[in-house]
Assembly symmetry: C2
Homo-oligomer: 244 residues x 2
């Protein structure tokens, strides 16, 4: 049964994911660098330093955390070479993404009033859970698949959980970013009268849609090849029931 055509081949998917990723990177940089005044905390006495921290937050979370971890997910699909090399690059990229995420959260503590005062919004709650899950995933991944501290049967049992939780954490990171974008924009619109149809609003909305689209391509590329391999077995048994 010709099942290779069920999903698009990997190359166009990887290409689309990269085009989306580059657009998202451009949009977040354009937003952060062009609309700097939106990131200023007017009540603070150190606007210049605050501005750097405030601008760094979306840049680190979107480019450092989300885009880099998306690329780390895709490494198993595009990097030529041994499995060991793929695992090393995956681990390193996820490590840099995790560091960016932690640094990105840390920047918020510098602008506002300490750590506890920051954790009031759904965005902050989701972000904390997301980075904690990400850290746990990285540690378990390191201990099991790279450091190989566990026996083979345990590693085999952990692998599908690692894949599912990894993709879930990635999707949660994107959802958290969407809430962050909307929180910032709603604040600007109600507090500083930024127009609902201004260029800034359009840039932030496009950034949000770009992230949603990117996550779809990354997750599809991540699950697609295995799905293809197994497709013939699956479809043969399912087609008579589901599609009949």
């Amino acid at each position: 049964m010709a099942t290779a055509t069920v999903f698009p081949s990997l190359l166009p998917l990887l290409f689309l994911a990269r085009v989306c990723g580059l657009s998202v990177a451009f949009l977040v940089l354009f937003w952060a660098l062009t609309f700097k005044s939106s990131f200023l905390n007017t009540s603070n006495s150190l606007p210049q330093q605050d501005l750097i921290y405030a601008v760094l937050h979306p840049v680190l979370m979107v480019i450092g955390f989300i885009l880099l971890s998306g690329e780390a997910i895709l490494v198993h699909r595009w990097l030529p070479g041994s499995r060991g090399l793929k695992k090393s690059v995956h681990l390193c990229l996820q490590g840099v993404a995790l560091a960016s995420g932690i640094f990105g959260i840390w920047t918020k503590f510098q602008v506002n009033d300490g750590i506890v005062a920051n954790f009031y919004s759904l965005h902050s709650w989701m972000g904390l859970i997301c980075v904690s899950l990400f850290g746990a995933q990285w540690l378990i991944g390191f201990l099991n698949f790279w450091h190989r501290g566990e026996i083979r049967t345990v590693r085999i049992k952990i692998l599908p959980w690692h894949v599912f939780l990894g993709l879930y954490t990635y999707a949660l990171a994107v959802a958290t970013a969407e809430t962050g974008l909307l929180e910032k924009l709603t604040f600007l619109q109600t507090q500083r009268n930024v127009s609902k149809h201004s260029t800034e609003s359009m840039v932030v909305n496009s950034l949000g849609l770009g992230l949603a689209l990117l996550s779809g391509f990354v997750i599809l590329a991540a699950v697609s090849p295995k799905y293809q391999i197994l497709q013939s077995k699956l479809l043969y048994s399912d087609s008579r029931c589901l599609a009949s």
Copy 2:
């Protein structure tokens, strides 16, 4: 190879998804009925009618659209009986969910200033894309798997796309709801001085976390059984490479 233990069996997953779903339903009703004044548009002349529309929006989108479509996804996993019965119940539940989603969006046009004026936020853009995708999925599902307008080979090719796009749309609906909750709360906090640590803020944040958790359980339950069946084949070929 004993692979049935890799993922938890279906029953606990279904139970957890339902507990999460009930908690989410309780929280959205508690929010809508207890904090009614938050939903009032102070500048409007018809507060009573506006209040009904404003309260209906989150209730319809969360209970009618998200919870019902989650249950429709799970129907293939728990409903006893023939495949035809499962497909019919799936189609009907998704139809009711779609109607709730459209009605839920319609309520927003009654409170604010017309249709176009409402589509300024990332929440509204995501919501429109989500309901459009959902509608297209329902129509294609009806034409292919229920009405059987296409030949069998076409249906076989469409099935994995239908599953992937269905789960993606569901996740997008949850992400859209998260942005809606944050938009509402940020507006209340900046415009009406609702405290960041008030009961209302905690209820809405818990509702957001409940939705994120629910989506994880529903998607895991949806992909888990097939994954288990194929696990032995997958693990046998992958274990020597990935886990070695």
